[in-house]
């Protein structure tokens, strides 16, 4: 496995000087900090989010956010959970390259992956997502805005908005960054109904979005059956490394998938048994899947919701 390399202070200074020497760019940092990113493969940078729920302190910094630098431009893959985090990610990009930000790709609809989009509007990129992403964001936007404003606080949330995709991906599609391409593959309903897998051709790095959780308990907002089926398919892929939506910066297939497969399979088995026994949803939420409690962070925050979703799906079998 490639050891993540932190951007050295020297590189950062060099980049800053280069920027300062380019008056046309008119780069003015709006605040002190750029997001902490690591180059996990040549030209592939990942910022690791925290294992937390939204708070004014973490400013929505919960999901991993990445960018890929090509000879002709940059593609951002997920933008973190607020405009302020999006700006810090943009600053981190500008610390390593002044190439145009051509694409902002969202791996799926969740607020911790999309609310930073607003910081990139100034670059006039193509906003890219699964063909069901726009509908999913549309129906949820009010709830997402209300909830995140509440959790992050009005001041931290300021400037965050839902930016809809301008390019919708229905078939596998290639985006050109010059010396490298990104392959975008829309997936059937799994974590959500709008999951997208992004592959960097040059380094064979897979960005799995929230199809892969590590350490942070998975959250079901699509179909538990669909997700388990897709994980079987994902396990057959070959990749130099994968970037999870929540978890370390990089992991390896197929081992990376195993804890998540076990978690989802345990819930499915427990819930199916309870449905067969005539148990109710309320009863299932008290017991199903609790053998997984110590294996994950944020279990108390999300597990009961996962069982609820699994029950409401599996009771129709």
């Amino acid at each position: 496995m490639c050891t993540p390399k932190l951007i050295s202070r020297q590189t950062f200074l060099k980049a800053s000087l280069a920027l300062a020497a380019t008056p046309l760019l008119r780069y003015v940092p709006a605040h002190a900090a750029a997001a902490d990113v690591s180059e996990v493969a040549p030209g592939v940078f990942v910022h690791q989010g925290r294992y937390e729920v939204q708070s004014p302190e973490n400013r929505g910094d919960m999901a991993n956010a990445s960018f890929v630098v090509g000879s002709e431009g940059v593609a951002v893959i997920d933008t973190s959970g607020s405009a302020v985090m999006g700006r810090e990610l943009r600053d981190a990009i500008r610390a390593v390259t002044n190439k145009p930000i051509k694409y902002v790709i969202n791996t799926h609809m969740h607020p911790d992956h999309v609310f930073g989009n607003a910081a990139f509007v100034q670059d006039n990129p193509t906003f890219v997502g699964h063909y069901k992403l726009a509908r999913a964001l549309g129906t949820r936007s009010q709830g997402y805005i209300t909830a995140n404003k509440q959790m992050l606080g009005e001041a931290t949330f300021k400037g965050s908005e839902i930016i809809l995709p301008t390019l919708s991906i229905k078939e596998p599609t290639t985006l050109d960054l010059g010396d490298r391409t990104l392959l975008l593959e829309p997936q059937p309903t799994a974590h959500t109904d709008n999951d997208l897998i992004v592959t960097d051709s040059k380094t064979n790095t897979l960005f799995l979005g929230d199809l892969l959780f590590s350490v942070h308990v998975p959250t079901i907002d699509g179909s538990i059956k669909g997700w388990l089926a897709l994980l079987d398919e994902m396990g057959k892929r070959k990749a130099a490394r994968v970037v999870p939506g929540h978890g370390p910066q990089t992991m390896e297939l197929p081992e990376a998938l195993e804890p998540e497969q076990r978690y989802l399979a345990t819930i499915a088995a427990d819930v199916r048994r309870q449905i067969a026994e005539g148990k109710t949803l309320a009863e299932a939420t008290k017991t199903a899947g609790f053998s997984e409690k110590d294996a994950w962070k944020l279990f108390d925050q999300y597990h009961v919701r996962n069982v609820t979703a699994a029950f409401a799906e599996l009771e129709w079998e």
Binding site: G143, L164, T166, L281, E315, W316
Partner: protein, 274 residues
């Protein structure tokens, strides 16, 4: 340029507010205000209501995890004997506070533990109430407080395409009691139906998805009425009901569901086989 969503979101919030004002007829409907006196007046006039007298029990989750699908259970303890007339559920702060009214028939039973469960949307921190009307016409209420918000505008369907493919599918199940001597059976009715409340935006048209929800459900056991339910969009997507009924000869259940578009859905179960 990317188009933003802020103005639509604002419109959505205003529409939800407008809807709540229409129903409540109040100048303001914020969480702090007690709207129950008005709701009570509308539903029951000046009839007295006994509160927390043990005639009816309401079970809610200790912590709401998903405000779009909150399980509620109402129980009438075995100590309460005789026929029941009706049961009404309220969520004070929802855009339409009345969740459902059940009007019981002869097959609802006169003894044992009678119960009714469903799953609801909760739009704001709110009191939830169950009001039971017994055969003598007296009213009995129990109240719980739910800390949940955002269930109404949230689109609960996680896979709307798969759901719409199965629209109208009805499943009816019965659960015989463990002891043959128990006069009460349990049953479940579930229907694939979006129960659209008119507060969800369709991004393709930039319009609200029109309200369409289960308005009426009639449940009969061996041809006798268990209950008739009048429902609202406070009931979650893919409405789901658990309830009890009195043991009959065949224990065949027939269920007829009508939605606000006038579409009729039917389901039945024949435990002894057809």
């Amino acid at each position: 340029m990317p188009h933003t969503f802020i103005s639509l979101a604002k419109a959505c919030g205003l529409a939800a507010l407008a809807a709540s004002l229409l129903v409540l007829g109040l100048p303001d409907a914020r969480a702090e205000e007690n709207v129950w006196p008005i709701l009570k007046e509308q539903a029951f006039g000046d009839r007295p209501i006994q509160e927390e007298d043990g005639m009816v029990v309401l079970e809610t989750p200790s912590k709401v995890e998903d405000a779009a699908i909150v399980p509620l259970t109402v129980r009438v303890p075995p100590s309460v004997k005789g026929e029941l007339k009706s049961l009404t559920l309220f969520i004070d702060k929802n855009p339409d506070p009345k969740v459902a009214t059940l009007t019981f028939g002869p097959a609802a039973g006169t003894s044992g533990e009678r119960s009714f469960s469903t799953r609801v949307r909760v739009d704001n921190f709110s009191h939830v109430r169950a009001i039971l009307e017994t055969a003598d016409g007296s009213l009995h209420m129990t109240t719980k407080f739910l800390a949940a918000a955002g269930g109404c505008a949230a689109m609960q369907a996680k896979d709307p395409d798969a759901d719409s493919a199965d629209m109208g599918k009805v499943i009816v199940r019965t659960f015989p009691p463990a002891l043959d001597s128990n006069p009460i059976w349990a049953a479940q009715v579930m229907i694939k139906h979006p129960n659209h409340n008119g507060m969800q935006l369709d991004i393709n048209t930039a319009k609200f998805i029109p309200a369409r929800f289960v308005k009426e459900m009639t449940v009969k056991r061996d041809g006798e009425l268990v209950f008739q339910l009048d429902g609202t969009f406070s009931i979650s997507t893919n409405p789901n009901f658990r309830f009890t009924f009195s043991r009959g000869e065949e224990n065949d259940l027939d269920v007829v569901i009508v939605d606000t578009d006038g579409t009729v859905f039917e389901g039945q179960t024949h435990p002894k086989g057809s």
